[in-house]
């Protein structure tokens, strides 16, 4: 098979013309090294976020208040595990191996979504995570479903189809509390007070602090900027939260009839960067839980490999 060739202005122009024409780039097609590198970075961070994202909610499975809620939460956490698998698959089509990516996570060299370093303190938090955290994730993932790289796009289409139920079940739970007793309303408000800002932050730094964005948009990896996706999230969720009688913890939040958008106050980026750097409330605990799970699964992996080897030897 002919070498598809090194980078040149002509190759780059042909590649960008394919993307401009709406074509998907598939494994084996020529791509600039920077495109491949950015995709591996984004997809692996996304995969890690799905896997670490199982931890906050997984802790609540034994304490779910009803069998129905337990079934729902089990299915949701199982979905997050599956979504991590779809995404590691997409990353592997770019020539990296899942083992390398997981090693980077366990050794603290990889990033994952900052929002999972906050603690869910009450059952109302589980609902608020579904409504806001999954709501924010879906806005991002609907955008990424348009991605120019085929395997990432397909993983996103599938994940979006599955995650709409995560968003709905959380919203249903919060609405039940918001319309419930005074104590339940207070729990919903408390959860909103703690999850609103982390949900806004999880959509990433301001466009002005996101140096990769212009190139990612040019190459169709992202089709919107962080601030555009954040605006979509606020426009959908702020009025619905207010509608059910909850108070959004942002004194500057207001609707501007002139532009039709809800405008939020300043985000505490110092907090965001501190959590990204590893100084969030639960960064150390999250990584420790992943390392423990990896070690506790070691004998299973070894047993499966030994069984397969013996079967092959006796076949």
């Amino acid at each position: 098979m002919a070498d598809l060739g090194a980078e040149s202005p002509e190759r780059l122009a042909a590649f960008e013309a394919r993307i401009a024409a709406g074509e998907k780039i598939e494994p084996g097609d020529w791509m600039p090294e920077a495109y491949r590198h950015q995709l591996v970075r984004m997809i692996s961070q996304h995969a890690h976020s799905e896997v670490v994202g199982m931890l906050p909610e997984g802790a609540w499975i034994p304490r779910a208040p009803s069998l129905r809620r337990k079934l729902i939460l089990l299915a949701k956490v199982q979905d997050e595990a599956g979504h991590g698998q779809y995404l590691y698959h997409a990353a592997e089509t770019l020539g990296v191996h899942r083992d390398e990516l997981i090693a980077a996570l366990l050794e603290g060299r990889a990033k994952y979504s900052s929002v999972f370093n906050y603690p869910p303190l009450t059952w109302a938090d589980v609902g608020m995570i579904g409504w806001l955290v999954d709501g924010a994730a879906i806005k991002n993932q609907v955008m990424l479903a348009q991605c120019s790289y085929g395997p990432y796009s397909r993983a996103m289409v599938r994940i979006c189809a599955e995650e709409t139920f995560h968003h709905k079940q959380g919203k249903e739970m919060v609405l039940t509390y918001a319309r419930g007793t005074a104590h339940q309303r207070a729990m919903a408000q408390d959860a909103l007070d703690r999850w609103w800002w982390p949900s806004l932050m999880m959509l990433g730094p301001h466009d002005s602090d996101s140096p990769n964005t212009p190139q990612l948009v040019r190459w169709g990896v992202k089709t919107k900027t962080n601030d555009q996706v954040r605006q979509e999230f606020v426009d959908e969720h702020a009025p619905e939260l207010l509608e059910v009688g909850l108070e959004v913890p942002d004194p500057e939040l207001r609707f501007d009839p002139a532009d039709g958008h809800w405008h939020h106050g300043p985000i505490d980026w110092d907090e965001f960067w501190a959590v990204v750097r590893g100084d969030g409330p639960l960064n150390a605990e999250r990584l420790e839980a992943r390392r423990r799970a990896f070690e506790e699964g070691r004998w299973v992996r070894e047993a499966i490999a030994a069984h397969a080897a013996r079967r092959e030897a006796t076949a």
């Binding site: 002919a2 084996g28 997409a90 397909r154 189809a161 709905k168 490999a305």
Partner: protein, 187 residues
Amino acid sequence: MSAAPGRPSGDGPRWEVFKQDAAGKPHQAVGSVHAADAEHALLMARSVHARRPAAVSLWVAPADAVLSVTAEQLAAAGDEGAAPAHGDTEGAPQRYLVFRKSSHRRAITFVDHVGEVTAVGPWAALRAAIVAFPEPPALAWWIVPSERVSASPDYEAAAWFEPARAKTYKQQSAYGTTAPTRRRRQG
């Protein structure tokens, strides 16, 4: 070129997974799993790729058994790719499953199973497939030796795939919370 790096890992080598949604529909590439052997790969595929309807059958094949070629790669290979001996060592004829993708439309799956050819090697099989399945023009081809493909057992189909249908709480339609505003206006 193989579809993916297939080197063994702590979780075993990589297996491509193909899912069939209903009888009469093609098996479609949905992603991959890591597993120690074919039986393990099918169990992993069931957990990862058939948590929801619809599925009636799964196939798995080792990723390093897949010849994956895009239209762009074929064009770049030109005459070289068309040469009778290109890419193959001589061997006895064997059956190859042919998969192809023919649209850039938004999709949840990659290549679809379209049929099979008999050839002395995967490149010869690809050339035969291009002749046998010309329309619509393919954007990507996968050629997989039939003997490397393992299928989910028919007698397990009900146990593997039916329970997902009853889990309606995994569907967004099970939740009546579309928009508080809309509900109030309707009420």
